[in-house]
Symmetry: D2
Subunit: 140 residues, 4 copies
């Protein structure tokens, strides 16, 4: 594990450079390398709707937000541009016309893999989805 | 479980109507209600890249493809516009500048939930990702 | 959801009545229906070893502890003898010659399913495994 | 990855030596290193019951059977006494007074982890549970 971890501005710039993230315009709200925690926000856009004019965010952008929160936490807290080994999402409530805020935490970083938990809340603080991912603990 | 299931053309039209699916331009290749199987294809576009000019498809579109394959299979084979309860994705190999083909199969449809398996292959037939999802067995 | 939930003594007695739990001799340490939290303890026994004389607890008893914690929480907090729909366990560290303490929390109880998180620690407080389960929100 | 893989008799002996497996008396029915497939059988015993005299097998022995099938497949097909990184079980049907037969297949063995699928059937061939596990691709 490298000790050279990128700061929040550098991470945001890496995020903005990614073509898919250009579609999903996410903002890094907080990075706490000590607590191994990152907060990532996805503002609502009609492009993310599951069904037109319902305001309901599709599960795909939600899964992408969770994956990105884990990936950028691995990078920002552990210095590792880690590949996602697997990702699990539990959808708890529909998110309607709301920004989504993902809080990612490293639960354990071992020799070969790390496990990251991600809670996603809407702008009223309601839990919308739970993510848990396994990330490679070495550069992919 | 309703016996009125939409056909492939109607499903494709439902798919095209979804704003998020307007970004992810997926094509229903096959729907076999008897075998409870659906094949969904995501042609490659640079917008799906994880890192610019690498051709590597981001895990987000991949997870979205898997989720959509399960969702539209529930609709097409069981007649249920089922909500996704949870989704699990194992990433096996990078997919590079390749269309992705997801084959979804209902493994079990119970009273309250159904379990769907989704294998994703690249255009050379290599297994790229495995998905498994729990879907509500009633309209959400 | 019934409001008649069994108390801790009644739950322990239900637990002791189960033949498989007679092998895994677990103790309910705490039940907090308000916080929807249950703490379940598995004392170490050589019968749980993966490999003889190593003291390392097999993943099976660990998964069983997690499942039981979720099941008895559903019963004790929500009054539902709920069937396990699915269970996911992340193994973080070997547990060696140590009692294991599982803390289960309901993250969300919906109409058809509930999601329960379970953290497992050894007797030095180290995180040994993470569990997440989907339980039917109606009696099975 | 070592090319020295134990044969079926040696694997069965390793299985029998494990104290926890002494409780769960499983039999290796088939090992096919070419197809990377192993079949493991758990005969019914009243000790595995969830509730006394119901004949219903507890989810714990089922999860243990799935984990063991994956572990011994990794050993028998790839020569790796691999640690289980995570395990996911979907319970599809109650198994009542029936032996359970688990068929495990390596879906992908990468540099750091392998993914194994396990289908569990009862003695009438009905699908009872689905397992999917991530195993370390190096000795643990």
């Amino acid at each position: 594990v490298s000790s050279e971890t990128p700061g929040i501005a550098q991470l945001q710039s890496l995020l903005d450079d990614s073509p898919y993230h250009g579609f999903l315009r996410m903002e890094i709200v907080e990075l706490d390398p000590e607590a191994k925690r990152l907060v990532l926000r996805l503002p609502f856009r009609p492009e993310y709707e599951r069904v037109k004019a319902t305001g309901q965010v599709h599960g795909g952008p939600l899964a992408s937000l969770i994956d990105a929160a884990g990936t950028f936490l691995m990078w920002g807290a552990l210095g590792i541009p880690a590949p996602t080994v697997n990702l699990r999402v539990d959808y708890l409530r529909p998110a309607v016309r709301s920004a989504l805020v993902a809080t990612a935490t490293v639960r354990r970083a071992g020799r070969t893999v790390a496990v990251v938990d991600v809670d996603v809340r809407d702008d009223q603080g309601r839990l919308v989805a739970l993510g848990r991912g396994t990330y490679g603990a070495q550069a992919g």
